[in-house]
Symmetry: C2
Subunit: 219 residues, 2 copies
């Protein structure tokens, strides 16, 4: 129940947050571990994960799952910040464990309120910052996915991660199984490719610890 360390409310005092919760028609929900929330049910809203851990995933016609993002307490989500407009019914919020959520109507952020409170400007700026970050995150994802082979996707992802870590040695931000979902490839095929890459001396890997060895060769 702590919104003070949510990036959406950065630079907003706890008193103002209380004020906002009244001003904006917000509502909270509690979901059980494993429960799914269809994103078409939260159109026009911005959600914040207050407690627990959740994922945004896509499950399409043939049942294949794609991990869109992982949410931790304070994470902000919603269609403008996350998913396409078209097949919202394929998007789900999946609770890893027991979760508390709060929702706000999107329009409260973009439109000035009648009393033109000062914190509206701050909120707008915060939302702006979140959006910029989101664009960069998605651009990275597109970059990874735009490669044609599993190997090229992996190398691209590893290079980006290494650049963020400012080191050729880094820890994967999620499990190997989730990595396969992230690069949208078959897990076993990815394992096979990872093995080959290790044997060719491109990288070392001990569980989630990765060390890139020869960076910058062919893709």
């Amino acid at each position: 129940m702590d919104l003070t360390n949510c990036p959406l409310f950065e630079d907003v005092s706890p008193e103002e947050i209380d004020q906002i919760l009244h001003c904006f028609c917000s509502n909270t929900r509690h979901l059980q571990a494993g429960e799914l929330l269809n994103c078409s049910d939260i159109v026009g809203k911005i959600g914040v994960l207050l407690a627990g851990e959740a994922k945004i995933i896509r499950i399409d016609y043939d049942g294949s799952r794609t991990l869109m993002e992982t949410l931790t307490p304070g994470s902000v989500f919603g269609e403008a910040l996350a998913f396409a407009n078209s097949p919202l019914d394929q998007m789900f919020l999946e609770c890893v464990n027991s979760c508390d959520l709060i929702f706000f109507a999107y329009t409260h952020f973009t439109k000035r309120c009648a009393n033109s409170c000062e914190h509206h400007n701050i909120l707008l700026q915060n939302l702006f910052r979140l959006l910029s970050k989101k664009v960069l995150t998605m651009a990275s994802r597109v970059e990874v996915l735009s490669h044609r082979s599993i190997r090229a996707k992996l190398l691209c992802f590893f290079r980006i991660t290494a650049a963020e870590a400012k080191s050729t040695r880094f820890t994967l931000p999620f499990s190997i199984t989730a990595l396969a979902e992230y690069i949208c490839a078959d897990r076993s095929a990815m394992m096979r490719e990872l093995k080959a890459m290790k044997e060719e001396g491109l990288l070392q890997m001990d569980r989630r610890q990765v060390t890139l060895l020869s960076v910058g060769e062919e893709a």
Copy 2:
């Protein structure tokens, strides 16, 4: 040379635009048809295409090209609105024909100026709207690319396009060759798949005119 119909300057009068051009340190450039502009040369800037036609593409190590977006007069581009932070040197603006461009420092938009002019707020809101749109565009792209097979990618793209057109009959927004670049697949392999899909009665296609026939089956 007309910024009035650029979405970045929506709701800003021509007089104010003139003022802004002075206030913001802007500079213009002219590029020839076919000329490439490396995006690492325009870090921290927001560009607007004033005249001509251009593309944002990525060319990576092995020389394969990926179409990131197409720019028409009034289009706004720049790293926050377009491409990832990491390998900027792989990103290029490619002029289809002779182009005029104008660049602004990014910070002018996000930071309030000393005289806190009113139009700064409007610009911020405009940039916000552009960002939201960009997130949605990229989410669509991720959605398309997250499918594993060429067929699934095509169907996903066609469904999204059909949804936008509110009809199962629509015209491709770019050439078939560009479509292959968009879905990050080999062109000939894509042609082969399109042919198979036509034969299976999934769709009709006359050049860029597409008609989806059986929507909602398996992917």
